[in-house]
Amino acid sequence: MAHATSSAGLPALELGQAPGRIDPVLLLAGLGWAGAAALTLLWPNATDDWAFTEELAYLAAAAAAVLALAGLLPRAPGLARLRRAGPWFLVLGIGLAVWEIATAKLDLLPRPFFAPPQELLTVYIDDWPRLVECVLASLSLLVTGYVLGALTGFATGIGLGWSRLVGYWVHPVLRLIGPLPPVAWLPVAFFTFPSSWAASVFLIALATFVPVTILTWSGVASVNSAYYDIARTLGARNRFLVLKVAVPAAMPHVYVGLFMGMAASFAVLVVAEMMGVKAGLGWYLQWALGWAAYGNMYAALLITALMCSGLVTLLFKVRDRHLAWQKGMLKW
């Protein structure tokens, strides 16, 4: 009986919230992208004839079609997120049009520092094998260093929070090297390590290590002492207190440390690749700058931003699953 009412009540509620079948914002966004496509195609370029201008127009037109279709479709279940992003699509469409006009069509911005959108498209189409290679190189360097730094930081933080001996020896070292920006080690690292790759792994690990250590430590130190008292009266020994009380209680802090460590590791990654490593996105950025290939630079910058943001999103997703027991978490 109760089951029947609840299952009948849900769709009614959903229908009640839907104002209509057509989403005007998505339609408008589609119109914006169609406009951008039209002016790209029909308005002749100012100076030289940029490659892939037509292709850019077709891509924008395709986006316009998708948006318009999504706006017209009856409520398909997968489109909820697209609908919420409607205003963003509209603004992005307008932005693309403005960018296109300011660069390719009117040449308002000084060249060659500002590339038109079709130039980025050109880079992605012509140079994608190298870009993919660079992304993979950066990822393998970053992940190796980050995982090493996070694991040692986690272990050191627990040691600091738990053992007086570890605290005695590690705390002063941490106080000395913790505030030092990891990039300051760069010259030393490059001649003490056998390869620039190993040096970069070390620097990324160090950049991750410091915040993860400090936050894990503070997490363990701030565990409610009643948690220990209760576990002890229930028969828990030291090992259990560390692994089943201190560590889970400290996890919210640990994730803050992992987040801060990730941000620091990005900085070190890009600098290390710019300075010595002969592959990766940082190297590509530097290389593009050297050849005054600003289109390549913007293209690589966009990929770097997407990669970093994607990794942070992944970290937050893992955290949300792991810390689902918490109330009121910050959503990334």
Binding site: D229, T233, W325, Q326
Partner: protein, 263 residues
């Protein structure tokens, strides 16, 4: 109680406790702040003893010593004739705050004691039984923040009872509950104690609660705590709050605490 005394071969369900001239204090800014002064008290197996006194007088400290969380500075405490050297699952504490582990479900919280001792795999049914005992069977998979105050305290009680404690130490366990939940849980505590036969030792500063639950009420002075009065409450269970004998005892305790004129 009587049957336990008549069967000396089997270990009685409740623990006998002997507190001998115990003194304790805390060092505060290089000075020793005395908290307990020369406390001596014997508790028979299966008794329900309430410790009553002004707040901050040191009753909770005495419970921590009995739980084995701290050693006393003076005197000694014997559990079944043996000195207490540390915490033990036969002496379990329920605190005023339920202090459930927020990352564990209710079931996993209750299972903690068995898990810590490495016997959970073979004894899972005991967790279910403990949850049933406190009426939380349907909430095993809930997380602590989803529970009301009374339910959380029930879960904490189940977490203690799952170990089949021989001494249940209750540190104002109902202190933070609303008055209706409190009355219900007082009744539940009595029936749990009667069914299981453990010795119960409860700190409270609610005189009615002490008289409703306990076979003996120990009244403490202000800090440093001394025992100023011991009352046997010889009334059958379930008790009635307006029982004239209980009313008389309450009056006496109020006078002992210097509040005689307020009623």
């Amino acid at each position: 109680m009587v049957s336990a005394a008549l069967a000396p071969a089997a270990q009685p369900a409740g623990m006998a406790l002997s507190i001998e001239q115990v003194s304790h204090g805390f060092v505060l800014q290089d000075e020793l702040l005395p908290v307990l002064q020369d406390i001596s008290l014997g508790i028979e197996p299966g008794e329900f003893v309430a410790l009553l006194g002004p707040s901050g007088c040191g009753k909770s400290t005495l419970l921590r010593l009995i739980a084995g969380l701290e050693p006393p500075r003076g005197g000694r405490i014997l559990a079944d004739g043996l000195p207490i050297t540390g915490p033990d699952p036969s002496r379990v504490v329920v605190f005023q705050d339920p202090t459930l582990y927020p990352w564990r479900t209710v079931w996993d919280n209750v299972a903690l004691g068995l898990e810590a001792r490495g016997i959970l795999k073979s004894q899972r049914h005991r967790v279910d039984q403990a949850l049933e005992l406190v009426g939380l069977t349907r909430f095993g998979s809930a997380l602590p923040h989803q529970l009301s105050g009374g339910m959380a305290q029930r879960a904490a009680l189940a977490r203690a009872l799952v170990n089949d404690p021989r001494l249940l130490i209750l540190d104002e366990p109902l202190g933070k509950l609303d008055s209706l939940t409190r009355l219900t849980m007082q009744g539940e505590l009595v029936s749990l104690w009667q069914r299981s036969g453990f010795t119960a030792l409860m700190v409270t500063h609610d005189i009615e609660e002490a008289l409703f639950l306990a076979t003996r009420v120990i009244v403490f002075s202000d800090r440093p705590a001394r025992i100023v009065e011991e009352l046997r409450v010889d009334r059958p269970y379930p008790r009635h709050r307006d029982d004239p004998e209980l009313v008389r005892l309450r009056q006496r305790i109020l006078e002992r605490l210097g509040l005689g004129g307020s009623w």
